[in-house]
């Protein structure tokens, strides 16, 4: 079985490499555009996927409502920005306040959702928690739809076009550049949080063994809440950035984005933070090339196919630990 995998992999990479090199030589700018577009897309997936993977790492739950948290982040930013825009405030102040509000409110929603829908189900069958999560997702979608509007709302970009970036803007716009830079910063901060702070240590301990962590004096409930809050914050940043990039939002944007980000998290090996980032980049870049060179209408099919193919050969994702099952 193993040599078949290796041979297939080599043939696949060879064909892809050959074909790819040909394309790069024939039109390098288009290739670069697609690559950077893919990285941008992957960065957004990564920001959302982090929330999934962290929550999954700690309580083994697919947090279906996570996409909705991201949507609420974008929605809050839109509302805050429009209100302040009408009051005639300075656009830099608006941008900062909108992002701050988006993060704060997303965190609050993430926290509340966990308290309502997941905490009472801590010891219940896992499927029950999943259905509860799906119910929460449906509820939040409809709540935003009813309270606001089912239509698409135009979202005025909070990020201005940088003047110094003018000469390169045809390859990558300043919004896309900001997305990539912000994502890198968030990743570094998150890495520091998880690796070096006390709460990060507590998170890792809880993910490994909840009971043992509790015995050592870690407040497990608090750690879980913190995980939701941190995940929601990154999702909110992703929401605001993508809204700036796409230019319009509605109540339903969270669903597909959440699904894709979840695929990315699974691709990388769910529960692993670097895995989520890697999976997101792989998904984003390959999706971008696929839609750029092949059919754009089969974009989602491609995303799922790549997931199926990778999982068949590596059943626990790219970076996932292969757990040996014990009796």
């Amino acid at each position: 079985m193993r040599w078949i995998n290796i041979t297939l992999g080599l043939i696949f990479t060879g064909v892809l490499g050959f074909w790819g090199t040909r394309e790069v030589i024939s039109d390098p700018v288009y290739f670069l555009e697609l690559l950077l577009g893919g990285i941008t897309r992957g960065s957004i997936y990564a920001l959302i996927a982090l929330g999934y993977t962290m929550v999954y790492g700690i309580i083994q739950l697919i947090n279906f409502a996570h996409g909705e948290i991201y949507m609420i982040g974008a929605m809050t930013a839109l509302i805050v920005a429009s209100v302040m825009g009408l009051w005639g405030w300075n656009s830099a102040v608006i941008a900062i306040l909108a992002v701050v509000f988006a993060i704060v409110y997303s965190c609050a929603y993430g926290f509340t959702v966990e308290k309502i829908a997941y905490k009472p189900l801590r010891n219940a069958p896992r499927l029950s928690a999943l259905i509860s999560a799906i119910g929460m997702s449906l509820f939040l979608q409809n709540y935003v739809m009813l309270a606001q509007t089912p239509e698409f709302l135009p979202f005025k970009s909070l990020i201005p076009d940088f003047l110094f970036w003018e000469p390169y803007a045809h390859i990558i716009t300043s919004v896309e550049l900001s997305i990539i830079i912000v994502t890198i910063i968030v990743m570094i901060l998150l890495g520091i949080l998880i690796k070096f702070t006390t709460i990060g240590k507590a998170m890792r301990a809880t993910a490994q063994d909840k009971v043992m962590a509790a015995l050592l004096g870690i407040n497990v409930n608090q750690v879980i809440s913190t995980t939701f809050v941190v995940g929601s914050a990154t999702a909110a940043i992703g929401g605001v950035l993508i809204a700036c990039h796409v230019g319009q939002i509605n109540f339903f944007i969270g669903f597909l984005a959440g699904l894709k980000a979840f695929i990315a998290a699974v691709l990388g090996g769910i529960g692993s933070v670097p895995g989520a980032v890697l999976g997101s980049l792989v998904l984003g870049i390959s999706e971008s090339f696929f839609t750029g060179y092949f059919w754009s209408e089969y974009e989602d099919v491609f995303a799922f196919s790549i997931l199926v193919i990778i999982l068949i050969f590596r059943p626990s994702g790219i970076l996932g630990k292969h757990e040996t099952q014990k009796v």
Binding site: L78, I79, I131
Partner: protein, 400 residues
């Protein structure tokens, strides 16, 4: 009783929710006309609403916790107790039979039609129950097989004029094949990986149907699918609905019979054993591959039959009927009803399908209520409305 502390707590929860919902509930921005509307009255209602909601929520949560402490683990739901009692069981079944027999003649066509969709979901639920409830394989792409069945009938009819009765076994076989086909590559995956891959398969089939115009007519769908025929007799619309109703009843009865027999058969027990412990099960000489594949394939078979009935009933199908939400609804039927329990699944289907239909009066809010209901049922009854009961053999003490 409500103590002072609880009131204080509820008050703070209400305050928290007022802050939480402020931007989305109160401010409404019209970005085209550039007007902001502040709806302060909403804030008031949210405060009041969440205050009382928090009180009841905490009350019931405490009730549940206290109950968990006192009760023993092997309590049997009331319905099962009643059904085990022969004196109750027979009259109950007779009443049920009479009710379903006369139902289409008493109620108007609209209600019969709703009942048909509920019954189709009973079938789908029981089919998915094999996969999720018995075999423990989380399948989020169940709708793919439903889609296969519906399109099989629609396309076979369109191109070859195949009738409903012939399409039924053909698509059952097709569903079985597809189940095996999709089941095979995912055998190695476990738990949530399996869930997301099956979800992927479901979406792939839908998107292909949407984009492969020459094959499936794309998003326009296929119209004029004929209803089932009855010895070439011309039926008017009302009678057709009644006819389909009885076909579905027959199919549901068949499903219940099969599932009940399967559950106690060798293969059924193998499913349950595999769900509970894979390694121990393999050590007992049960083939993992065969057992998992039969679960997938048999589940898919029921879904495809359901699909055929759905196509015949609506006479028009398009890919939008087979989104992931459909899978989620069917999964909710199984989980909310009670995993692994046939009665639970039936109850779940009726609650989840009939309730939103009759909530159409408040149409905009029905999905909101549906979502909230899922959360509430799961929080207070995590094992479902009627939980499954395993057959227990009681040993009587032999007197020496």
């Amino acid at each position: 009783m409500v103590t002072k502390k609880e009131i204080k707590q509820a008050f703070f929860i209400a305050l928290w929710f007022m802050v939480l919902t402020f931007p989305i509930m109160v401010i409404k921005v019209n970005t085209i006309k550039n007007i902001v509307i502040f709806r302060w009255n909403y804030l008031f209602w949210i405060g009041i609403g969440t205050f009382f909601a928090a009180l009841t929520w905490n009350y019931f949560l405490q009730l549940k916790e206290n109950k968990q402490k006192t009760e023993t683990s092997d309590d049997i739901p009331l319905v099962h107790k009643l059904l085990q009692n022969a004196r109750f069981k027979i009259p109950f079944l007779i009443v049920l039979a009479i009710f379903f027999l006369v139902y289409p003649f008493i109620f108007p066509m609209y209600h019969t039609s709703i009942m048909i969709s509920a019954l189709v979901y009973v079938m789908l639920g029981l089919g998915l129950n094999i996969v999720v409830g018995l075999a423990g394989l989380l399948d989020l792409g169940y709708v793919a097989f439903y889609c296969v069945g519906a399109y099989a009938y629609a396309l076979l009819n369109l191109h070859f004029g195949v009738s409903f009765w012939l399409a039924l076994p053909i698509s059952a076989v097709l569903g079985f094949l597809f189940g095996t086909l999709l089941g095979y590559p995912v055998l190695r995956l476990r738990g949530d990986y399996l869930a997301i891959v099956t979800l992927g398969f479901g979406e792939i089939i839908r998107i292909i149907m949407e984009n492969w115009d020459s094959f499936s007519n794309g998003p326009r769908g296929i119209a004029n699918i004929p209803p089932p025929s009855l010895f070439n007799i011309d039926l008017n619309q009302h009678n057709t609905v009644i006819y389909i109703y009885f076909i579905v009843i027959a199919l549901v009865l068949m499903t219940i019979f099969f599932v009940a027999r399967l559950e106690d058969s060798r293969i059924g027990r193998a499913w349950i054993a595999l769900r509970d412990d894979e390694i121990a099960c393999q050590a007992m000489g049960i083939s993992k591959v065969k057992t998992k594949l039969t679960a997938f394939a048999l589940g898919a078979t029921w879904a495809s039959i359901g699909g055929v009935v759905f196509a015949a009933k609506t006479s028009y199908i398009n890919p939008m009927s087979f989104t992931i939400w459909e899978s989620i609804t069917i999964l909710s039927v199984v989980v909310i009803g009670g995993m692994g329990s046939a009665i639970g699944v039936i109850a779940g289907a009726f609650v989840l399908i009939l309730l939103p239909e009759y909530l159409r009066a408040v149409a905009e809010y029905r999905m909101l209520v549906f979502g909230a209901l899922q959360v509430i049922v799961m929080v207070f009854k995590p094992e479902g409305l009627i939980k499954g009961v395993r057959k227990i053999y009681k040993f009587k003490k032999v007197e020496e």
